[in-house]
Symmetry: C2
Subunit: 183 residues, 2 copies
């Protein structure tokens, strides 16, 4: 299912961005890609997005050069962020921070926190390490459960379960065998 991409004003930068990432689910798919989700079945299980929609969104993002499809060494393929895709991190982070701030969890505080892999210190909303002050590239960020994180229940999907532990962004979140089928 492809929604019409009919924003007028092609000369506007935000319109162009929204043509690529403004469809339903797209930013959530990209957020998962930053977290290290790579396989169709992993996205599908974590997001509970209809498979036809997921197929369409992955195709759109691949065609736009935001994701790249690669063989995973076995019979399947993985989707990984390109440099163009990684450049969306500030937008994904900004929207997540806004959600944390204005829709706080019951426990209070952010659901996820970001640490600088170099020194295990929190990285602020400005993308800078609160310890060393460095601007931290997305590949040097470690995501960890924050004070507002809900515990992953026994029925949690593999992605949710894996995110109960600190994990470096952009590195594969799950072993190759954890989610088996595309169909």
């Amino acid at each position: 299912m492809t929604l019409p991409r009919d924003y007028r004003g092609q000369s506007c930068a935000l319109s162009r961005a929204m043509e690529v990432v403004g469809e339903r689910w797209t930013l959530l798919i990209l957020r998962d890609a930053f977290l290290g989700v790579r396989r169709f079945g992993e996205f599908a299980a974590h997001l509970a997005v209809p498979r036809a929609v997921l197929t369409d969104r992955l195709a759109t993002l691949t065609a736009a050069g935001v994701l790249q499809r690669r063989p995973d060494g076995g019979r399947r393929e993985v989707y990984v962020l390109t440099d163009k895709g990684r450049a969306l991190w500030p937008a994904v982070r900004a929207l997540s921070d806004w959600g944390d701030r204005f829709y706080p969890s019951q426990g209070g505080g952010p659901r996820r926190v970001y640490l600088h892999a170099g020194d295990d210190t929190r990285v602020g909303e400005d993308g800078c390490c609160t310890g060393c002050g460095a601007e931290v590239p997305v590949g040097d960020l470690v995501v960890a459960p924050g004070p507002g994180a809900a515990p992953a229940g026994p029925d949690a999907d593999p992605v949710t379960a894996a995110l109960a532990r600190p994990h470096r962004l952009l590195t594969p979140l799950l072993p190759r065998t954890s989610v088996s089928k595309r169909g």
Copy 2:
């Protein structure tokens, strides 16, 4: 028309954000609100969004506390960003910057640039003034046509025409009489 808001994973900060701002047109409407667009007819003329969709989006944003509806002193109403709405600026800026970077205009360079009202100096993508180094609040930003801006033609809508000149964000872009009808 209201699209279903059925993202699973209510505990995720980005999901909560996308429930509020993730529908088609919503971020473009908010971008216009930052530019100082306030009246129904102004949004409609600038975005060429179907009026039923605009009505729905403005109602959703008002119900969510992102926009506030106020009398404009005459017989009409205006929509202005609340503090919660203003907190979306980093996300709007990040998405616009991404669009400018990866979908450059024919002229090259950004379509719009942001200046610090205090010293008329460019404000970088990190939100800091490249002159004085201060983190600039959104209300102290002046938007001006950048090197990649397309000239506003004679048929330009009032919003596009007004943006050919530098304009301070969050201040009304148009005089009260410029766009007349809602219906």
